[in-house]
């Protein structure tokens, strides 16, 4: 494994890569040039300071931030001898890279991997003039910005690169840095940027040629195609319009003259004018879109034919059939179908034409576009959605060249499921099973190959092998409701009898957004208090049944795990969290308090913290602070700092490895498993509540809490301090749950809570009443 890493070049990419390596727990030496003779590390040190303030955060924890050390290439280059991997991320100038490699060659330890983060320079040119030994240890590792959040890593190995070393770097990038490694050939732009640049250029050209407004272009070219809602022009605004000529120059300069990109890569005078005038996108004065502050923060869009800005218009409406059906989209009447095809037809054909040249298989290109450009579907998955035969027919009708892989497919889909195994069409014309790397287990594969053990309207139970089952939420946003709870109740006797352990896991966009507020507000509106109480009590019962079940339960959260989604983790025996887990008890934001055992569980964790002072108040105060401010962790490591996760809970860096890690953790607990003993609490009662009230009054005075925040905080304080309990009493978990239920029901009947819930459902934002 890589034990120490050096990143040379502290620009956006280099610094971001350094931060992600630190997030992996590895010490990183970050080097840049000497700009100030008195403060020789100032460039790298400045970059580290910027990383600490970056939004979204570059570091996952304070501990990670401490792992990056600043240095400079004049004084510290010799220290690369201690490192197992050196990543070069300096400016894209070959002569500077050559000069650096020459110096590196003199000081490095042979066998130390050296990689370049170049996005434009071929590997064979990078190693010109270097020794055989250097070439053996050299590869390209192309990260995407921002390196913490973009999962794609393109790796290019040269003919001389040592396969074992490439494997070592790939493995570290995968397991420790959480990247999905895609192998690319040494061709210009590699995979994602090659397709992505073509796609953007084709889409921009088509908008100019067809006279499509940018609002319409983004509406057609965004969500209906499974592309992020920024669409095309919104995306270019985001990455910077001035990057376009640079990418174009780099690709036209390195691609062969007959590459299809060459014929579409032309400049648009309006765009050149925008760049010249500082309209470079969100980082500049504005871009294709701008916010007009003088007009009162009005979003404006540029008119591609006149160059004038006007209030962004409501885009063309996409026929409902075309919103999800790609075939319907490209054949829709008018601008919708015409523009959709003008973007997709050439782009998908271009991607298909790269098989053989840039990649040997379709998988790499699909993964690259999904993880590098956040497309929901890769190009070949999109072709499948259109229908390969129809797609080819339309290309032929337009007299376009048919890429070899499409001819080879002969109308067959690129992906299929055969006897429960997901397969892809290889360049040899045969189907091959999609092989997952060791330690990668995907529910997607299991679901393709089997039927659920149990199923309800909002949850399902899957056999994931070796005696372990996975509980999957299946509702919208994986929201939790009575159907989930019922399934849990059915699951427990079944697992106790036939299986060894349970993991709570799914593969949605987020683990769970919490309780289904839509259902709750329905019950509230008809004053069905009994139903609401049944839902809350049922959730408490189901979660505690999981906690005390006679088998290990491991929760595997990722993305958002909020409210009830957080509480199921708190009630599990252990948590194996993806590094990008945003977990929190956010109930107070909608005028409620945690109702499924979150209050007690958070206090238990606070009390177990070795840093917590003794006495009845510290766990109460800690839980109160966390819950009343609806704190959401910014990473799994941060969740440990806050106290949602225990120090012993596991963190998986690579999303694809989460299920396998959670399963392994559950299996490790099977032998000799005994359910936990219920906790008891010694709570401070009215005295402690008074202390919390004083604190809340202070927040109110400072304008940090609203009048209704004070009411909600009061109920929370009642629960956390034990209600009428005195400090000499012992409060049982059951008593605390009853208190939690009672205060929850008081709040839910309050019209101000109802207003908060409705506001959240309609706007997605908290109401500060």
């Amino acid at each position: 494994m890589v034990k120490e890493l050096c990143v040379i070049g502290a620009g956006t990419m280099g610094a971001g890569i350094a931060a992600q390596a630190a997030n992996a727990g590895v010490p990183v030496l970050l080097l840049d040039i000497v700009r100030d003779a008195a403060d020789r590390n100032s460039v790298a040190a400045g970059a580290i300071e910027r990383l600490k303030k970056a939004e979204p955060a570059a570091f996952m924890s304070k501990a990670a931030a401490r792992l990056v050390e600043a240095g400079n290439i004049e004084d510290d280059l010799g220290r690369v001898a201690e490192c197992d991997w050196v990543i070069e991320a300096i400016v894209e100038k070959i002569e500077l890279k050559h000069a650096l490699y020459e110096k590196l060659e003199a000081v490095r330890t042979p066998g130390t991997a050296i990689s370049s983060n170049t996005s434009t320079i071929p590997l064979d040119r990078l190693i010109e003039g270097r020794s055989e030994a250097f070439a053996r240890d050299f590869l390209i590792t192309h990260f995407f910005n921002p390196p913490r959040y973009m999962r794609l890593l393109e790796i290019v190995a040269g003919p001389k690169s040592d396969p074992a070393l490439v494997a070592k770097v790939s493995d570290f990038a995968d397991r420790a840095m959480g990247k999905t490694v895609v192998r690319a050939k040494d061709t210009p732009g590699f995979l994602a940027n090659r397709v992505g640049t073509y796609w953007l250029q084709a889409a921009i050209n088509a908008a100019f040629e067809q006279g499509v407004s940018i609002e319409d272009a983004d509406a057609i070219g965004g969500k209906p195609m499974g592309v992020p809602k920024t669409g095309i022009f919104g995306l270019v605004d985001l990455v910077g319009i001035d990057l376009m000529p640079y990418l174009k120059a780099s690709l036209t300069g390195t691609l062969p003259a007959n590459d299809p990109y060459q014929s579409i890569a032309h400049d648009h005078p309006l765009i050149l004018k925008m760049i010249a005038e500082g309209y470079t996108g969100r980082k500049g004065k504005g871009g294709f879109y701008r916010i007009n502050k003088e007009a009162g923060k009005v979003k404006e869009a540029i008119n591609l034919s006149t160059g004038d800005y006007a209030k962004a218009a409501k885009p063309v409406s996409i026929p409902s059939a075309a919103q999800k059906d790609l075939k319907a989209l490209i054949s829709a009447p008018g601008v919708v179908g015409a523009y959709a095809w003008a973007v997709l037809g050439p782009t998908l054909a271009y991607a298909a034409g790269l098989i053989g040249e840039a990649s040997d298989d379709i998988l790499a290109i699909d993964v690259a576009m999904k993880l590098g450009y956040n497309w929901k579907y890769g190009p070949f998955e999109l072709i499948d959605r259109i229908g390969g035969a129809d797609f080819v027919a339309r290309l032929q009708a337009e007299g376009r060249e048919i890429p070899a892989i499409l001819t080879l497919a002969a109308g067959r889909p690129f992906y299929r499921v055969e006897e429960g195994v997901r397969q892809y069409l290889g360049a040899d014309g045969e189907y091959h099973a999609i092989a997952r790397p060791d330690g990668v287990l995907l529910l997607e594969d299991i679901k393709a190959a089997s039927k659920p053990v149990l199923k309800s309207a909002s949850a399902a139970l899957w056999d994931i092998g070796d005696g372990v089952v996975a509980l999957e939420f299946t509702g919208k946003m994986n929201a939790l409701d009575g159907e989930v709870m019922k399934l849990i109740e059915k699951t427990i006797p079944l697992v106790a009898e036939q299986y060894k352990a349970l993991v709570v896991y799914n593969e949605g966009s987020n683990f769970s957004a919490g309780a289904n507020l839509g259902l709750a507000i329905f019950a509230i509106n008809i004053a069905a208090w009994g139903e609401v109480e049944k839902l809350v009590a049922g959730g408490q019962k189901a979660y505690k049944a999981l906690k005390y079940a006679p088998f290990p339960v491991v929760a595997a959260p990722f993305g958002m795990a909020l409210g009830g989604g957080c509480e199921i983790c708190l009630n599990a025996d252990a948590v194996q969290a993806h590094a990008e887990t945003y977990i929190g008890l956010v109930e107070c934001g909608v005028g409620l308090i945690p109702g499924w055992g979150g209050c007690g569980e958070l206090m238990v964790r606070a009390a177990q913290s070795p840093k917590a002072p003794k006495g009845p108040m510290p766990p109460v105060a800690k839980a109160f602070e966390t819950i009343s401010t609806a704190t959401v962790a910014k990473s799994a490591a941060n969740a440990k700092e806050i106290g949602y996760l225990r120090p012993s809970d596991g963190i998986t860096m690579n999303r694809d490895r989460l299920l396998a890690d959670a399963k392994a953790r559950a299996l490790a607990m099977v032998e000799g498993y005994t359910p936990p003993a219920p906790p008891t609490f010694r709570l401070p009662g009215a005295s402690g509540k008074t202390a919390l009230e004083l604190a809340v009054k202070g927040f109110r005075a400072r304008g940090l809490a609203t009048p209704y925040d004070e009411v909600v905080a009061d109920k929370l304080a009642t629960v956390l301090t034990g209600g009428d309990a005195d400090v000499v009493d012992t409060v049982t978990e059951e008593q605390l749950l009853a208190l939690e239920l009672r205060e929850f029901m008081t709040l839910v009947r309050d019209s101000r809570t109802q207003a908060r819930v409705e506001h959240m459902l309609t706007t997605g934002k908290p109401l500060r009443n």
Binding site: P684, T690, G698, A701, G703
Partner: protein, 373 residues
Amino acid sequence: MRNVVIAGYARSPFHLAGKGALARVRPDDLAADVVRGLIARTGVDAAALEDLIVGCAFPEGEQGFNIARLIGLIADLPLSVGGMTVNRFCGSSMSAIHYAAGQIQLGAGEVFIAAGVESMSRVPMMGFNPMPNPALAKKSAAYLGMGDTAENVAAKFGISRAAQEAFAVESQRKAGAAIAAGLLSDEIVAVGGVEADGTPRPGTTAEALAGLKPAFSANGSVTAGTASPLTDGAAAVLVCSEDYAVANGLPILARIKSVAISGCAPEIMGMGPVESSRKALARAGISVGDLDVVELNEAFASQSLACIGELGLDVAKVNIDGGAIAIGHPLGATGARIVGKAASLLKRTGGRYALATQCIGGGQGIATVLEAI
């Protein structure tokens, strides 16, 4: 009655709680270093000490277990020397001095060290387990936050935000000038290699302060810039009978002329110095006009200005080397600091009378009148 004198004063550097250079220093170790330093500087015979009295506002955690006794043991005082912890919140170590003076006059000892300590980094204000009496909290402002009391004083006595900020700028300027002139280094005992205060911000300007957000009330006038910072620090004075000091050649700074305590409404606790100072001045038989040196603890600029106004103090004589807004306010240590400081200033300026006074959370004031020898 026997005369009681202050025959030595020393303190640790003062540093911001949490992020300052003393955040990792245990309070008992911190105070022990100061006690050792005081003994070394004064040359007092430690075996002659009757008792070590230590003020501390939150005597729990590392400040618990009767910290005074532990400080004595850490500082290797003879086992014969006693140790007692005193808590009167911010007035704790001034009370320690008063207790020592009373004991001397009672004939219950000749030589005492009265000290104070607070690590606001390591033991939070309100302690680890704040559990106020619910009934009292309803009927009284006993538990009201200190910042809120400062707002109350500002409102009641019409102290504008601009006036508070001008006062804070002046406090910082005076501290900066004193540091530059080397006037503070004499009183500081280095702790773990830390030799100077970390608290003062001598370059503070009114413009910078005007940009700060109110710290306690959205519409209030008190900011972090016009409040004393949370501080780590310790201070100690040598209190002994005048006869003993003279006989043993100890460096007498000043004689304790009178002392006083008074209570006031908790919601305006910052006004505590007014009544306690009046009582102490009356007991000393002098008036405000007779004072040459005043050390008025700057818990907040609002209460300092209100007290100066109510007492009719001459601003030029108040906190000559800067006050707590600049230097810091380690709760338990402040009383010993300002009495030691006032005594030193009498000597330095050649003045005759000095007053050291401070406000106390919960609604009290405490005052000490000193007289030059």
